[in-house]
């Protein structure tokens, strides 16, 4: 009797639940790309420090350092070094994009390369970025340029990094110069990449430079990054007045917001409460600040920030979403975040142990659709050293995009992370995120396509794009 009652209740709740569950057979049978509109941006993402090679910045310094117990800061003991040498192999990388049939490319410009000292400006490097953006456009690939993707010039970090108010002035001046130089080739801008990740990993978990474990500093840095975004947006609107693609708008400004599904580990009140607290801080505070123009950050008993930031409200034309995974959240009072995050045994994971949960992308796209802004998936990918599981990953996440669009979410683009295997920050070179693998030991840094390339090409064809042979 009771078993039947619970089964009936379960079925009733499942029927009422708005949480999706994708059927792999349906995903594989769907002609992905056909449900996307003309003009949808289908591309890949990279970041300067992870692919260019030869950058000297705060991260390069960090990579050479060690933890007090002698372990290197980078798990596999590598340093970014020459990376995939994309600084010198951009033409080759563009051919890979053409092979994919991509019509967009998100890359970042490296502040430390452009301004290695406070009083210098590398016009040669700026000209090279300019030529990249022009060459991309000539090939029908829309450039989307990120201005800050985790790395700082060493002179900025030595002066206090994002904790120092002076960094705001320096960043704004840097953005103004980039906007002036690239404005004639670029309409799509991403001011800051993942401010929440940078603040948490650098200032709360201490796993990234500057290696601090300080909740107050973490909240301060996150608020400073939001202010930096507002300042950057102001400069872009002022200095980039060229409407490159002729759509009537000279700038399309956004930021890339990293989101994670926070699943309460159990039904206990405390697990539910810490999951809610984590979601509010990590997923909600950035879009909420943009929506209201106020930065509100609170960690009970530790820190509370509530301040208005000039020009923050209405500063973006699109919200970039970087989505990878779901975390289970369990209360643990011994951690500064009051919780531990983990993935239970038995779940399908990538090589870094992140759960594969494509439904989460759908949930975030439909959730942020409420903001009333266009959405772009600025990053989504998986570490897969064999490359065999990436095709379904790509399919299932594009399926999530199409499902979200069908529900009314205004999703305008999808950028796969990443074009190439690259330097995955504290994880080093071990994780393989590339649609194209890279033989780092070969002098030519040989690029080889993985099985997901043909999946990407098929989606591109369905979208009306033409992958090159």
């Amino acid at each position: 009797m009771s078993r039947h009652l619970w089964m009936a209740l379960s079925l009733l709740l499942a029927a009422c639940s708005d949480r999706p569950s994708f059927d792999p057979d349906v995903v594989k049978a769907t002609p992905l790309g056909k449900g996307l509109p003309a003009g949808f941006m289908l591309g890949t993402s990279t970041a300067a420090h992870q692919v260019e090679g030869g950058n000297e910045n705060d991260w390069a310094v960090w990579e050479r350092g060690q933890w007090p117990d002698g372990r290197p800061h980078i798990k596999d003991g590598t340093v970014s070094g020459a990376a995939t040498d994309s600084w010198n192999r951009f033409d080759e990388d563009m051919r890979l994009m053409e092979k994919l049939g991509a019509n967009a490319y998100r890359f970042s410009v490296e502040w430390s390369r452009l301004q290695p000292t406070p009083d210098s400006w590398n016009t040669e490097a700026m000209a090279r970025y300019q030529s990249w953006a022009r060459a991309l456009r000539q090939r029908g690939i829309t450039p989307l340029v990120t201005l800050y993707h985790f790395t700082l010039p060493t002179w900025i970090m030595e002066a206090g990094g994002w904790e120092s108010p002076a960094t705001q002035e320096a960043f704004e001046a840097y953005v103004a110069r980039v906007a002036e130089a690239l404005g004639g080739e670029v309409d799509w801008w991403c001011t800051i990449n993942e401010p929440n990740v940078y603040a948490v990993l650098g200032y709360l978990d201490g796993e990234w430079p500057p290696g601090k474990k300080d909740t107050k500093a973490m909240a301060l840095v996150l608020s400073q990054l939001m202010e930096a975004h507002a300042r950057a947006a102001r400069q872009l609107r002022s200095k980039d007045t060229v409407d490159v693609d002729g759509d009537g708008q000279a700038t399309r400004i956004g930021l890339a917001h990293h989101v994670r599904v926070f699943q309460p580990a159990s039904g206990s009140t405390v697990d539910t409460a810490v999951a809610g607290l984590t979601d509010t801080f990590f997923n909600e505070s950035v879009p909420e600040a943009i929506r209201t123009g106020r930065i509100r950050l609170s960690v009970p008993g530790q820190v509370s920030i509530d301040r208005e930031v000039a020009d923050l409200k209405g500063s973006i034309d699109y919200l970039g979403i970087n989505y990878y995974t779901r975390d289970y959240v369990r209360q643990y009072l011994g951690e500064p975040a009051l919780s531990r995050q983990y993935v239970p045994r038995g779940r399908e994971k990538n090589d870094l142990g992140w759960e594969l949960f494509p439904e989460g992308l759908y949930l975030f796209l439909t959730r942020y659709a409420e903001l009333g802004l266009p959405l772009i998936v600025t990053e989504n990918g998986m570490a897969d050293h064999t490359g065999e599981r990436r095709p379904y990953f790509l399919q299932s996440h594009l399926y999530a995009v199409e499902q979200a669009r069908a529900q009314g979410a205004d999703v305008r683009g999808y950028f796969h992370w990443s074009l190439l295997d690259n330097f995955e920050w504290a994880e080093g070179y071990e994780p393989k995120f590339g649609l194209f693998s890279v033989d780092l030991s070969s002098p030519e840094k040989t690029r080889t396509e993985t099985p997901a390339v043909s999946t990407f090409q098929e989606i591109a064809r369905n979208l009306g794009l033409t992958p090159s042979p």
């Binding site: 009797m1 009771s2 619970w6 209740l9 379960s10 709740l13 499942a14 639940s17 708005d18 949480r19 569950s21 599904v261 926070f262 699943q263 309460p264 580990a265 159990s266 039904g267 206990s268 009140t269 405390v270 697990d271 539910t272 409460a273 999951a275 809610g276 607290l277 979601d279 509010t280 997923n283 909600e284 879009p287 909420e288 929506r291 289970y328 369990r330 209360q331 643990y332 531990r340 983990y342 239970p344 045994r345 038995g346 949930l363 439909t366 959730r367 942020y368 659709a369 409420e370 903001l371």
Partner: protein
């Protein structure tokens, strides 16, 4: 369901045994604000958190068995709560155990102890939190307050009971209520529910079950 039957049998058996004990002088315990009680309830829990675009919610079947026993005022209160998610691929099942010790007088009672929660597969597997509950009788009304009551599920509450009905305010924003529908002098049906909001998190739970009041034994009596 098995635990409900067990509870009925136990309550009835203890009542019958107390009634059969005609040879000895009947033991009349001194009046106290609490009497012995055991209960077993089944119910439904919905918990999650809200955000700008909606909410994340999980539903669970709940089973709660517990009670308190008085040894000449010295009070032992224990409860076991299991939560089983109703949908696969979401949260984990969990079992919580609360053991609280204290003292119950004529007008007041205080018990405190840990709530130990185990959830598999979780990291950490086991968590421990403190729990406390206090009662004070004021005429026909019993006032009560607690922290992480109901085996850790109710964050904090202050309330009052009158007869078979109880109401409470759950901090920071919520309510709790219970009612007992008598079946006999020593057994009844208990309906218990609460709902609250804590930051962006919210939880609501409704349980229905049997409650019984075994008679007190004479202090030091082995039976």
């Amino acid at each position: 369901m098995r635990s409900l039957l067990l509870l009925l049998v136990l309550s009835t058996g203890l009542t019958a045994r107390a009634q059969d004990n005609t040879s000895a002088a009947p033991y009349v315990p001194p009046p106290r604000v609490l009497t012995n009680q055991i209960s077993s309830e089944l119910g439904l829990l919905v918990g999650g958190y809200s955000h700008s675009g909606g909410s994340w919610d999980d539903a669970y079947a709940s089973s709660l068995t517990g009670g308190h026993y008085l040894f000449n005022g010295f009070t032992v209160q224990a409860g076991v709560l299991s939560l089983t998610p109703l949908e696969g691929g979401g949260p984990n099942a969990s079992v919580s155990l609360s053991v609280r010790l204290g003292f119950t007088g004529e007008r007041w009672s205080v018990v405190a102890g840990p709530v130990i929660q185990a959830s598999y597969p979780s990291t950490p597997l086991v968590t421990v939190l403190p729990s406390v509950k206090a009662l004070y009788q004021l005429g026909a009304v019993t006032l009560d307050a607690g922290l992480l009551d109901k085996v850790g599920m109710v964050p904090a509450h202050v309330g009052a009971s009158y007869g078979r009905v109880g109401l409470a305010y759950v901090l920071p924003l919520g309510a709790r209520a219970h009612v007992r529908i008598p079946l006999s002098e020593r057994a009844g049906i208990q309906v218990d529910g609460f709902a609250f909001r804590l930051g962006s998190a919210h939880t609501a739970m409704l349980t229905v079950g049997l409650v019984g009041n075994p008679p007190s034994s004479r202090p030091g009596d082995a039976s």
